[in-house]
Symmetry: C2
Subunit: 583 residues, 2 copies
């Protein structure tokens, strides 16, 4: 049976898999399989490590890397995005779930599952209602600051595993104090394993691939081997621990990781738990979506592909619901692994599905081998991964470019470090919006004059321009709305108070994109007041949509002056009678 | 000792009384005294009535009309504003205090006093930090809607006194249901007094003054007599109740009102109470300030005087602190009584201080006379006063002018009626800001062309203009910032995707008042992407402040095209080579 084209188009929009699967062939398959292999190798230690970062049993990291990837392969629109547990979302999960349950208890795991479900539901609903634009209210600098601060926070939180001590806290101060208090308990063997692994992993990142290439290996093989570095570290430290019985000498190990298929799980439907997790789910959804969509967009642009943000919401939403149903926790598209996936040649989301198969095999077969894996090794994996996210240069960049952006970034970083991830990102959003509103509430108003020999008007303070003593032309560099309506009134009243011969006030509206009801009332007030003083009010360069609206009010009938299409026309006409009078 | 001029100036800024008292003379005194007399006559029944509306003992209304007026006379900048208990703030007080205490208990009165103190503190601090601009975020239509809905709510809440029954509730539905449930308990005598007084007061408003004038009275006397209408109603209904012993026939009376000076009171400093009253205090402060400053500004404009909003905050703040210290409750500048004060000839804030003396005399001497005053009379006073505030025409006005403004007004009215004053005004503010952000996040982008024979560019869809096949000129009608940065990217990518011969994209920035860091990154991305496609990106008519900032980034170095002062220059230059090629 052939579906009618229209239905098929609309089905493809909601099930992107129907689109790309049509042209799937052997070459694509090979490329996807190779990419999947590399990502699987990378993802196994990461999944375990991020689960521990979230305060969850290691196997939940594996479970979160199986069915969610399949869901994304069906519903997602990016061809290179690799979904799974990521560092920042894991930290946010720990912060959210830590508020309502104690780490290590079944309630804690159940809350994490519920969080994934809630977040999945939110994302899916946002996708269906096309609310993807909401993510735009997180400004780029705020995101950059947040990711950097989270990276520092995560790396610090892992130091306890490197030292083999206990340390608690959701912010930098608590963590640092806790580390200092317990440092005398540090376990030398654990510390050695931790430092050696961290050093090794940093070297793998920078030095291994060039070394392998110089040894004559083919680039692709060198790449795979370099990516396998963390797996090597896992294997070596596990073997050493096993061989020397280090677990009896104070080295903390991962221990029992259940072998087998992911369990079927259900989220809690307890209203109290939902309401206490709700705000966290909102924040995790937005942060996860923003991180994911940025990577997806960057990678899509490189291949002239397009991603559909609203459909991405559905893709990530179903992934999280899948995580909740199979013993996982909140997931999103990861930056590092997506880049690896892309570089390794992944051509379709099928690569993600193949990765899922790889992780499934690991969960079925390899978990007993992880018994002796030191937690310090996983901590080292996390530290090396997140430190690549830390980039304080955004502070310098914004400082040079815009103090307002700088303020938002600095506040986000400080609050994230000082009060944890949820506070940091909320403050970042609120501050971005608040500062934007503040700026628009005190708009830039320029008094302009004619640039000689042109029809062009520029700021009298910046350019050599011609003006006329009876005409004041004000260019308002902002839409007029309730927050700045009164500002405009004050500005005009002050301007005319200090200059006697004024007979015309011209408002140049080329930058006025809207005049709302409050601003209209202010304009009416200005018009009346100027009328009493014998001054006429004129408007120029009013835009189409704004003019349409003004025509629906009584303002234009009451206006003492005229509305000119061009500023030049206004000056020519208004200047003339007095020029004649002067003769 | 003479103060140096600078110090004196700065003192006058903070203590406006030092300014106007210098030129105070006998004429001013006479005018102020007459105005004070009329306002006192009007304020006595209103103070009692609004105190009952707030759920407080009647005398607290009088106390709130004494010292607060003196404080405002010292610190306020408006020469006509009459401060005291007002309807909307009384209703908000009832809603706020009703959440934490039961009407009629000492805790309830103590909470109202604390609310006045908190609100006074907030206002004063806002004034000191010059945060008066915050009030601008309440748009005019939202305020109009809120006042109208509050008027309906207040009038409905008073119907129980007219019927002589009980009815509870903070929203229209609860109130109406409660009234219907208890209507069979209505007391016929109370109902008669209530309806007769209401009818009389309406007639006094419309018909009494013309009648007195036609009887040959002098206008000023006619005015004073008409203003004394409510006092007449109070006197007559009190006498009738006393004469016929109506209090024994089910007519509720005011009862004992303590005689004497206002008591000295202290607010509670209980942290729990402060935190539960905090949000209410914020809302009351803002609503009170907005109402007060609107009236003050309107009246000041009529006499070419100026008010200083930040100093007004201090004036109202100290008034509320004064209210808290002398057994009152939250006060603000009232609309009706300020107009009366102004019309009666008040020339300085001293009129307010004289009014305070009048009310003090009433509190010292007249309270025993109020024992038999029926509550129905006070309810009628309130109903007549607030119904003059009700004006649904704002719905029609905004509907014609702007659907967005309409939505904000309609939501404010519905939520105020349905969920009470606090919900209504919060929703109004959030909705105004949310809708503004939403609009700016999807800016109007117009493709423009040259109006023949001019240097002027307009929308190709609205005007007959000249375009060039290789040049796309987009005028962006909004500042570029994080919320719309991605929108611009999508818009441009879509526009160039559907048109082949394009070689130049020109962004006309005459309406771009800011480019923040996020937007800069988007512009960089657009520039790179267009470069890959062999298309050059140009900017025109970039404003001074925006250009200054761009110069501090690397964008201008990377830009494939040029930055032109005028759009016309760009088209002339870019169109030329191809015109030659076509020859």
């Amino acid at each position: 049976m052939r579906l009618p084209t229209l239905t098929r188009k609309s089905l493809e929009r909601h099930l992107p898999i129907l689109g790309w699967s049509k042209t799937y062939d052997k070459d694509t398959l090979t490329n996807d399989l190779v990419a999947a292999l590399i990502v699987t190798i990378m993802l196994i230690p990461q999944s375990l490590a991020y689960a521990l970062l979230a305060g969850l049993p290691a196997e939940m990291g594996l479970y979160a890397s199986i069915l969610p990837l399949v869901a994304y392969a069906i519903f997602g629109t990016s061809r290179a995005l690799a979904v799974g547990p990521v560092a920042v979302v894991s930290l946010m999960t720990a912060a959210a779930v830590g508020n309502i349950a104690v780490q290590g208890t079944p309630e804690y795991a159940a809350a994490a599952i519920t969080l994934a479900f809630l977040s999945g539901l939110l994302l899916t609903v946002m996708g269906i209602f096309r609310l993807g634009f909401l993510a735009n209210f997180l400004s780029h600098p705020v995101i950059a600051g947040f990711i950097t601060a989270s990276g520092v926070l995560i790396a610090t939180s892992q130091l306890k595993h490197i030292f083999g001590i206990k340390a608690e806290g959701h912010n930098l101060i608590q963590l640092t104090v806790s580390l200092f208090e317990n440092q005398h308990l540090a376990n030398p063997i654990t510390l050695f394993i931790g430092l050696a692994t961290t050093g090794f992993l940093f070297w793998v990142r920078k030095g291994l691939k060039p070394l392998l290439l110089s040894l004559g290996l083919k680039p692709r093989l060198a790449d795979i081997l370099a990516k396998a570095g963390p797996v090597g570290a896992v294997a070596v430290t596990t073997l050493v621990t096993f061989a020397f019985g280090l677990q009896d000498k104070g080295v903390k190990i991962v221990g029992d990781v259940p072998m087998g298929l992911p369990p079927l799980t259900l989220p809690s439907f307890d209203a109290g738990m939902w309401s206490s997790l709700f705000m966290s789910a909102v924040l995790i959804s937005i942060i996860g979506f923003v991180e994911s969509v940025s990577v997806a967009q960057t990678l899509a642009t490189k291949k002239r592909q397009r991603i559909v943000p609203d459909q991405e919401l559905v893709g990530l939403g179903t992934s999280n619901i899948a995580a909740a149903l199979t013993g996982g926790y909140p997931v999103t598209g990861g930056f590092a692994r997506s880049v690896v996936n892309f570089d390794a040649g992944a051509e379709t989301p099928a690569a993600g599905a193949f990765t899922a198969v790889g992780i499934l095999l690991a969960a079925l077969l390899l978990t007993p081998l992880l018994y002796f894996l030191p937690q310090a090794t996983l901590a080292a994996t996390i530290i090396v991964a997140v430190l690549s996210l830390v980039d304080f240069s955004i502070l310098k960049k914004t400082w040079t470019y815009s103090k307002v952006d700088f303020a938002a970034v600095a506040a986000t970083i400080l609050l994230t470090l000082g009060f944890g991830v949820e506070m940091g990102v909320s403050a970042g959003v609120i501050l971005s919006i608040g500062l934007f509103l503040y700026k628009t509430s005190r708009p830039h108003v320029a008094e302009v004059g004619l640039v000689p020999g042109t029809h062009h008007f520029r700021n009298i303070l910046r350019h050599k321009v011609e003006t006329h003593p009876e005409i004041v032309t004000l260019r308002i560099d902002e839409s007029l709305y309730f927050a700045n309506a009164r500002f405009l009134e004050d500005y005009i009243y002050n301007r005319i108070a200090c200059d006697q011969p004024i007979r015309h006030v011209v408002l140049m509206c080329s930058a006025v994109n809207e005049i709302d009801m409050s601003a209209l009332e202010s304009l009416e007030a200005i018009n009346t007041r100027l009328k009493d003083l014998g001054i006429k009010l004129h408007l120029t360069e009013v835009k189409g949509p704004v003019m349409d609206r003004l025509k629906r009010s009584h303002f234009l009938e009451e206006l003492t002056g005229e509305v000119f299409l061009a500023q030049y026309d206004a000056v020519i006409k208004l200047a003339r009678p007095s020029a004649m009078a002067a003769q």
